[in-house]
Subunit: 196 residues, 2 copies
DNA sequence: AAGATTGTGCATCGAACGTTGCATAATTAA
DNA sequence: TTAATTATGCAACGTTCGATGCACAATCTT
C-alpha cells in the first residue's frame, strides 16, 4: 500500500540496519551524519525525510538493536540459575561476535556524552534500568521458589556488573572463548547464594 | 625558579584538576574547549599556551587521574585473594564517591569516539591492557604460591569484568554500599578457584 | 490529463568545534 | 634602561556539525 507521492528509492530497513551498526561501533556522537549517510548509501535529505533527525534515527536504531538480539526469553527457563547462565552466555556470544561491533550498544553507545545530548544518555540508561528490574524480578522468583537464599538485588547487580564489564572486555579484543570463561567463573558464585 | 617572561596568572595544577574532572564526567569528546576553559577559570589562549592542545591536556589529565588514585600497592599484599579484594573495594569506594564523577575515567572517558580521535581511545585501552597484565602477574604468583589452582588469565578477566561493570553501575546511580555488595558476591567466586 | 503528495539532489545555513595571529602586558636578564 | 621572553585577551580562522530551502522528479488519486 504505497499511497501517493514519489516512492522511496532505498530499502528503509537495510538503511536503518547500517545506521545501527555505525551507532553501535562509534556511539551516538561519534557517528557523524556524513558517515551515516555514507554507510546507509543515501543522501542527507533522504535521511531527514525518512527518519526526521539524528536523535530519532538513533532511537529507531536502538529499537532495532533490542528487537534483533534475544529478548528476555531466558527468564522463562525453569530455574534462576539456568536463566542467568543462559543470559550471560548468549550475550557473551554476541558481544564478541566478529561479524558485529564488539560489546553492547546499550552500554557503550552513550556512556559519555556532551551536555546537549543528555537525553540520549538518559534513554539508554532507562533501558538498562528496565533490564535490571527484569533480572531482579526473575531472582525474586528464584527466592520464593526456594532456589536461593540471598537478597535478589545485590545478586542482580553482581551479574549485571559482569555483563556490563564484558562489553568493555569485548571492546578491548576479548574473544567469545574469553568471555565464556568469564561466565564460567561468574557462575561459580551461584552455589554460595543458595546458602544463607 | 620562574625564569624570564610574564608569569602564569593561574595555578596550573588546580586548572589541570578541574580539566580532569570535566573529562572524567563528560569524556574526551564530550568536554568542549569552551567548557574546559570555563571550568578551569582561564581563557582559551592560556589553555593552549600552558597545555598545547586538547589531546595533550587530556593526556596530562589522565596521568593526574592515575597518580591520584591508589596505584598498584594492593598487589603487594601477602595473598592473591587479599590483593584482589582490596583492589575491588578500593575502586568501588572511589567509583561511587559522591564528591567525584561516577565510575572510572579510564573505562568511561573514551569508550566510543569519532574516527578522528581513535588515538585517544587506543591510549586508554593501553592503560587497561597494562592494568590487566599487572593483575595477571599477581594471580600467576598466587598460583605458584599454591594459593589457586585455576588458570590466572580467565580469573583476571572475570575480576576485570566485575571491575569494569562497576563503572557502569556507578554511572547509573549505584552507591558505595551497592558496589560493596557486588564485590562481596564476586569474592565468593574465590574459593572455587583454589580447587582444580 | 491534472492535481496532490512525497522523495531526492544540490546548495547552503547558522552554530559550534578546536585552534591560532597579533598586539599588549608582565616578568627576568643584560 | 633595554632587550629578550613568556602569558593573556581579543578576534578570528577554517572545518565540521546537524539541519534545511528549494527546485524538480516520481508516484497515486481523481
Amino acid at each position: 500500500m504505497p499511497g501517493p507521492g514519489r516512492p522511496r528509492g532505498f530499502d528503509r530497513d537495510r538503511a536503518l540496519t547500517a545506521a545501527m551498526r555505525l551507532f553501535w561501533e562509534r556511539g551516538y556522537e561519534g557517528a557523524a551524519i556524513s558517515e551515516l549517510t555514507a554507510a546507509m548509501g543515501i543522501g542527507t535529505r533522504s535521511l531527514y525525510t525518512a527518519f526526521g533527525s539524528k536523535e530519532q534515527l538513533f532511537r529507531e536504531a536502538v529499537a532495532l538493536y533490542e528487537s534483533s538480539g534475544d529478548g528476555t526469553e531466558f527468564y522463562e527457563l525453569p530455574t534462576g540459575r539456568a536463566s542467568v547462565e543462559r543470559m550471560l552466555r548468549s550475550r557473551a556470544a554476541t558481544y564478541a561476535d566478529p561479524n558485529t561491533p564488539a560489546g553492547c550498544m546499550v552500554v557503550l553507545a552513550a556512556t559519555n556524552v556532551s551536555a546537549d545530548n543528555e537525553r540520549v544518555r538518559a534513554m539508554l540508561r532507562a533501558i538498562r534500568v528496565q533490564d535490571r528490574h527484569a533480572l531482579i524480578t526473575r531472582l525474586e522468583r528464584a527466592r520464593t521458589d526456594g532456589e536461593i537464599a540471598a537478597d535478589p538485588v545485590p545478586v542482580a547487580d553482581f551479574f549485571l556488573s559482569v555483563l556490563y564489564g564484558m562489553s568493555v572486555l569485548a571492546r578491548d579484543g576479548a574473544s567469545v572463548a574469553d568471555l565464556t570463561r568469564v561466565v564460567d567463573t561468574a557462575m561459580t558464585s551461584w552455589d554460595p547464594l543458595t546458602r544463607r
